[in-house]
């Protein structure tokens, strides 16, 4: 029975590792390959941490299993009367300290490239493509008119959509993120990115997608009862398609419901 408990405590880490090994083939892993370099670097950092922690996990669980197994055989002279080992304490303090310090310094670069404004790609920083305003429970998107720059204040020529963000493929793009009511979070899980939308702040967010396609925009900060359905869509398309999309959006917004012929006819009759 004593050995049973050793096996019990050894069985579950093995099961845990087995589950993790089969997880990717079952779809219990990252949604898809991140379509940009920094997203892939986040995955790489995750995998690096996974390797380090798996080694530590196996090491500590095996050590635990070993001492449990050894502890089940009754010793004639009683248990080992020991108050510890100074050398071991030093080793297992300094070694993890070095590893942890390495991890935190190693991550700095990616963090700086994603978050620090001065490290943003210049073309993205100078020309934000859109302002995304979160509100209960939708994403309101404001584009500048084609050929114009996005201004901090709304302009009469601006173009508006809801829950439908379009960006060009293969180049860094920056959005200005804000909230109109409570706190939300702009999450792009397929791009491994999220940024809270904080009331009262305008936060620049940059990203890039090297493949065209549609991605989910997920609200990741609790914003009220409708939080679960605050879903948007990011469409990444070729530059021409993107330009055409904005043109069409502009035409749609300037459309007053009359055809060009009708307008011309009215103008003609006014002249007469």
């Amino acid at each position: 029975m004593r050995k049973f408990w050793c096996l019990f405590f050894m069985f579950w880490p093995m099961l845990a590792i087995a589950v993790c090994v089969v997880a990717p083939t079952n779809g219990w892993w990252f949604p898809s390959v991140a379509p940009w370099e920094l997203g892939q670097q986040i995955d790489d950092l995750f995998n690096l941490l996974l390797i380090i922690t798996t080694v530590v996990f196996i090491g500590t669980q095996v050590a635990l299993g070993y001492v449990l197994w050894k502890g089940t055989t009754v010793k004639t002279g009683g248990a080992w009367f020991s108050h510890g080992s100074h050398n071991l304490e030093v080793i297992w303090t300094i070694l993890p300290a070095i590893i942890l310090l390495f991890i935190s310094l190693y991550q700095m670069d990616v963090l700086a490239r994603i978050r620090v404004m001065s490290q943003f790609p210049e073309q993205a920083r100078d020309a934000p493509v859109a302002e995304v305003s979160a509100r209960q429970f939708e994403w309101r998107i404001r584009y500048p008119a084609p050929g114009k720059k996005l201004m901090p204040q709304p302009q009469p020529t601006d173009l508006y959509t809801v829950n439908d963000l379009h960006v060009p493929v293969g180049k860094p793009v920056m959005i200005r993120l804000r909230s109109e009511d409570v706190q939300h979070s702009f999450g792009l899980p397929e791009l491994r990115l999220m940024q809270d939308a904080v009331p009262g702040l305008v936060i620049p967010v940059w990203f890039q997608s090297n493949t065209t396609g549609k991605y989910d925009i997920v609200c990741k900060e609790l914003c009220g009862w409708g939080h679960y359905k605050m879903q948007g869509e990011l469409t990444v398309e070729l530059q021409e398609e993107y330009d055409a999309y904005l043109q069409a959006l502009q035409a749609k917004m300037n459309d007053d419901g009359f055809s060009a012929e009708a307008n011309n006819a009215v103008a003609q009759s006014n002249e007469d």
Binding site: G71, G78, H83, W92, V182, S185, P189, D216, G224, Y228
Partner: protein, 604 residues
């Protein structure tokens, strides 16, 4: 017996409070408004065990929705209040459920069971005092929990099943600061904030008492470095609590002022909340996050350190071996507490605070993994070469180590900011803190309940039922929470009433159903604990003073200890972990046992 105890205790200089000369006290003063630390501890324990069931029921409802979204709720679905929504969990109710699950588990279970129940019961017994330094304050600290329970209850029912507090246990403004922001942000949120203030007052009364008692009332010979790890855990927790809690209380009042008096600490200008224009502003919502996490990050250690201490005691007692590295264990506890005050920003990596600040918080957060690692290695070292006895407390304590390793390691992922950008607010986080708070703390608490139950009631709990409870809980726990790591990596956000309306999460439904079945198993297993606890309280086999042959001072007192605790003031000769010492033939050597010095060979 007990009168004699009082006379000896009365002669002692510490005994300047009322219980000394009053052996005859009525039922109410003895069991309800008691000033005896043991009764208060047991009151806390029973209250928190009942609250554990409440919090567990809320969790099961959350799990039901995640496995069978928008389907008729079993048991509760027939209730009158759910008629309007067809017996299903509405999204409003779902947000209430997880808000109150966290609230109940944190404020009414984990914190009071550690500091309130075991802190009260064990501190005077383990340091050799006859009671707490301030017994009346101690009684008040228990009875201040009841206004909190009542207020939380009011907040939960005041708006029916659509308008309870629903801003999460973190209650971020603006959602919690403006009444029109959500159905639950009205009166319910006000009551919730008042209730949090009450639990804060209760905790604060406890901390002041624990610090004073531990510093001033130790028995002769009980030096600081002869204190059991439980006492160190409680002591450091009390310090953490007394420094961090005022910040939360102040922040809570600031939101209350924002809500009721028109101040704008957390409400910026220019918002249009729920189509109503607050028109005022000038505040900063991030301020709340800083203040809240300045308390709530140390609070996660408040929810862990006492359990670490209790597990250290239990492991030594059943490995029949001294603690491996006593002083490193104490210093690492202190290091966790110290670092705990400079890592709160890791909850805010995605909040839009200055990224340079995020970098410093990343380094400090990584570093706090270090003392935890040192503790884990020392626990394994403690078992190394021991003569293990697999009782229920021992099994729970070994599970503590095994689960804490997972919780600690998964913490490294979210301490790394770039990785956190992906897993923040996902189920990976939920997995992480359940491994720490349930896998570690609660297994430690289960172990402690079985270990100190004989001292509390003079009777033993049934070991076989205890083992069955342990095995079922362990299987259910891992089935529920290990899989959450996978959900997190797959990108499933937390707090969504229906995650499956996102196409990239649809295929996770079967996994969620498996987790819900595991959670049901775990919930069912807790009835074994309750049954065992209440049955053994009255009908369990009687036991003597020291049923485990343990070393601590508490085992020197009668079981259950009378008012005043010890037959005479105990004198302490050594640390609490001298098991299998060569100085004696037994494999344990109580702290109070005097061994005359032996002549050294060659010196006479």
């Amino acid at each position: 017996m007990s009168i004699a105890t009082h006379d000896t205790a009365g002669a002692h200089s510490h005994d300047d409070h009322a219980h000394g000369g009053h052996p005859e006290i009525g039922f109410v003063r003895k069991y309800i408004f008691s000033t005896d630390h043991k009764v208060i501890g047991i009151q806390f324990l029973i209250t928190t065990l009942l609250m554990l069931m409440v919090g567990g029921a809320l969790a099961l409802a959350v799990r039901w929705q995640l496995a069978f979204p928008w389907q008729w709720m079993p048991i509760a679905g027939d209730l009158e209040v759910f008629k309007d929504q067809g017996g299903i969990i509405s999204p409003e109710f779902y947000t209430m459920l997880f808000t109150m699950h966290a609230t109940v588990m944190i404020f009414l279970v984990i914190i009071p069971v550690l500091a309130g129940a075991f802190g009260n019961f064990l501190i005077p017994l383990q340091i050799g005092a006859d009671d707490m330094a301030f017994p009346t304050l101690n009684m008040l600290s228990y009875w201040f929990m009841w206004p909190a329970i009542v207020l939380f209850g009011i907040s939960f029912v005041i708006g029916g099943v659509t308008a309870g507090p629903a801003a999460g246990w973190t209650s971020y403004p603006v959602l919690s600061a403006i009444a029109s922001a959500a159905p639950g942000s009205g009166a319910a949120q006000t009551f919730w904030l008042l209730a949090v203030t009450c639990v804060g007052v209760s905790s604060m009364m406890g901390s002041v008492n624990y610090m004073t008692t531990i510093i001033n009332m130790r028995a002769p010979g009980m030096t600081l470095f002869r204190m059991p790890m439980t006492i160190w855990g409680m002591f450091i927790t009390a310090i953490l609590q007394s420094f961090a809690l005022p910040v939360l209380t102040a922040a809570g009042f600031m939101v209350l002022f924002d809500r009721t008096m028109g101040t704008c600490f957390f409400v910026p200008a220019g918002l249009v909340v729920n189509n109503a224009d607050p028109t005022i502003g000038g505040g900063q919502p991030l301020l709340w996050q800083h203040l809240f996490w300045f308390y709530s990050h140390p609070a996660v250690y408040i929810m862990l350190l006492p359990a670490m201490g209790m597990v250290s005691d239990i492991l030594c007692a059943f490995a029949r071996k001294p603690l491996f590295g006593y002083k490193p264990m104490v210093y690492s506890l202190a290091a966790i507490a110290g670092l705990g005050f400079i890592v709160w920003g890791h909850h805010m990596f995605t909040s839009g605070m200055n990224p340079a600040l995020g970098m410093t918080f990343m380094v400090s957060t990584m570093m706090i993994a270090l003392p935890s690692a040192v503790k884990t290695f020392n626990w394994i070292g403690t078992l190394w070469g021991g003569n293990l006895i697999f009782t229920t407390p021992m099994l729970n304590s070994v599970a503590f180590i095994s689960m804490f390793i997972v919780g600690g390691l998964s913490g490294i992922f979210m301490a790394a900011v770039p990785v956190d950008l992906y897993i923040h607010d996902s189920y990976f986080i939920v997995a992480h803190f359940h491994y720490v708070l349930f896998g570690a703390t609660l297994f430690g608490v289960f172990g402690a309940i079985h270990f100190w139950f004989p001292k509390m009631f003079g009777r033993m709990m049934n070991d076989n039922v205890g083992k069955l409870h342990f095995v079922l809980t362990f299987i259910g726990f891992n089935g529920t929470f290990f899989t959450m790591h996978l959900l997190g990596v797959a990108g499933m956000p937390r707090r969504l009433a229906d995650p499956f309306n996102y196409p990239y999460l649809e295929h996770l439904l079967p996994l969620n159903q498996f987790m819900t079945y595991s959670a049901m198993l775990m919930g069912f297993a807790q009835f074994l604990l309750l049954g065992n606890f209440f049955y053994s309280m009255f009908w369990g086999p009687k036991c003597g003073r020291n049923p485990w042959n343990a070393n601590g001072l508490e085992w020197d007192a009668p079981s259950p200890p009378p008012h005043g605790n010890f037959d005479s003031i105990p004198v302490v000769y050594r640390g609490p972990y001298e098991y299998s010492s060569p100085l004696t033939d037994k494999d344990y050597l109580p702290q109070t046992e005097y061994i005359p010095p032996r002549p050294q060979p060659g010196t006479t």
